[in-house]
């Protein structure tokens, strides 16, 4: 990432999308996006950008660690989670905390939760969790609640504030209806409405949940049945970021003031929507696997109403 024509102030002022894609090709690593007035714009590459900008708040998102998964798509999901944690430990700017957007485990077994916790705790960061459908398999999601449910409402939703940013963790993986998508449910939506009420529209809001809160591909269940109602409560805020997992690939969309983003898994990749008969684990050559797994770094800069989301694969 030295002299390649991108590492300059000029590059920071804005490069074309095509140029960005070129950057990604040659660097094989994350591109820092800034979103200003709803228009995404590349700032440059992760290390450069992070070194030059003193961030207001940087936090990390990991997702879909599927501890316990041992099928051919990745026989060692615990190993790749450890690699992700090592990446986090090596970051030049230490994140304030971490979000885990669910599917911590593959089968909600106590031993899987224990293994996940043993590794993730090595990052020495506070971790805010929401469950994925793989974390609520046991009766009444007892194991998840025991570990991560303290101080949460309903099936595990909650909110907190950090550096003036309001964070909302939602649960859309329980009480799913036949033929449907992810589900928030009336009780949670009412809670969300009252949680947001009274906050000023200038408060940056980050919403995180496992299943995407926008409809990506209903044929594979990639969406949330009643997310539209949640979004109506969020619309009046000037800066809203929605972070999801579940689909094991990076995907993003901007709609008004709302930026949607899906993170990679640390365990196995899944196919692009419709690119395979099913959304199951995608087998890729061994030397490609780590380029399709990774973590996501998010930075807010105070007073600029912009945020940067950087996806970094385990290996470029």
């Amino acid at each position: 990432m030295t002299d390649h024509g991108h590492n300059t102030e000029k590059a920071r002022e804005g490069v074309s999308r095509r140029k960005v894609l070129e950057c990604m090709t040659w660097a094989g690593t994350g591109v820092l996006w800034t979103i200003s007035g709803g228009v995404p714009r590349s700032l440059g590459l992760i290390d450069q950008a992070m070194a030059q900008d003193a961030p207001g708040l940087t936090f990390l998102q990991i997702s879909d660690s599927h501890v316990g998964f041992d099928r051919p798509a990745n026989p060692n999901a615990l190993g790749t989670l450890e690699e992700a944690v090592n990446r986090v430990k090596a970051l030049p700017v230490r994140p304030a905390f971490m979000l885990h957007t669910g599917d911590i485990t593959h089968l909600s077994k106590a031993s899987e939760f224990d293994d996940a916790d043993r590794l993730i705790s090595q990052a020495r960061l506070d971790v805010h969790y929401v469950p994925g459908e793989h974390d609520v398999i046991d009766e009444e999601m007892k194991l998840y609640r025991e570990r991560y449910g303290r101080g949460t409402k309903g099936a595990g939703w909650y909110s907190f504030d950090a550096n003036g940013v309001h964070f909302v963790g939602l649960v859309n993986v329980v009480d799913l209806k036949a033929g449907g998508l992810g589900n928030l449910g009336n009780e949670q939506l009412e809670w969300l409405e009252s949680d947001l009420k009274g906050r000023t529209a200038s408060t940056p809001v980050v919403v995180f949940a496992h299943i995407p809160l926008w409809t990506i591909y209903p044929e594979w269940g990639w969406g949330t049945e009643d997310s539209a109602r949640a979004l109506t409560y969020l619309k009046r805020f000037g800066s809203v970021t929605v972070l999801n997992g579940h689909i094991h690939q990076v995907m993003q969309k901007i709609e008004g003031n709302i930026a949607f983003h899906c993170a990679r898994s640390t365990a196995f990749p899944q196919p692009a929507p419709g690119a395979a008969p099913s959304p199951g684990p995608m087998r890729v050559p061994d030397d490609k696997l780590r380029s399709m797994l990774g973590v996501t770094n998010v930075t807010f800069r105070r007073g600029q109403q912009r945020l940067a989301i950087v996806d970094t694969p385990l290996q470029s």
Partner: protein
């Protein structure tokens, strides 16, 4: 010791009696639904009453079986796990995977006819 012998004798009697009063009807039918690629196959299955339907998960991802009427609800099946349920009452049973609710299936149970019972 006496109790033990008595119990053993009783058990022997029951075992001897079992061919006369079989617990499972001799004609009990079975059918299989395979789970793979996030689909139930066959997605629609018609069986006679008293058929045992067995779901086998051949997918790389865990799934379960939950009927919308809540009559049937399996534990989550990991790869190669299976679950069986015997449908005794005729009717239409819609079911789905509670983890991936876009996966749906239907079992139609028809009344067993006299001909079915005479084997």
């Amino acid at each position: 010791m006496q109790n033990f012998l008595a119990a053993a004798a009783l058990q022997a009697m029951l075992l001897a009696a079992s061919p006369i009063f079989p617990a499972v009807p001799a004609h009990a039918a079975e059918a299989t639904v395979k789970i793979d690629n996030f689909t139930f196959a066959p997605q629609r299955l018609t069986v006679k009453a008293d058929t045992t339907v067995r779901w086998e998960n051949e997918d790389d991802i865990p799934h379960n079986i939950a009927s919308t009427s809540k009559l049937v609800r399996s534990k989550v099946l990991d790869t190669h796990d299976s679950f069986s349920f015997t449908f005794t009452v005729p009717g239409v049973y819609e079911y789905f995977c509670a983890l991936h609710p876009h996966m749906t299936g239907r079992i139609v149970v028809e009344a067993a006819t006299e001909a079915d019972n005479v084997q």
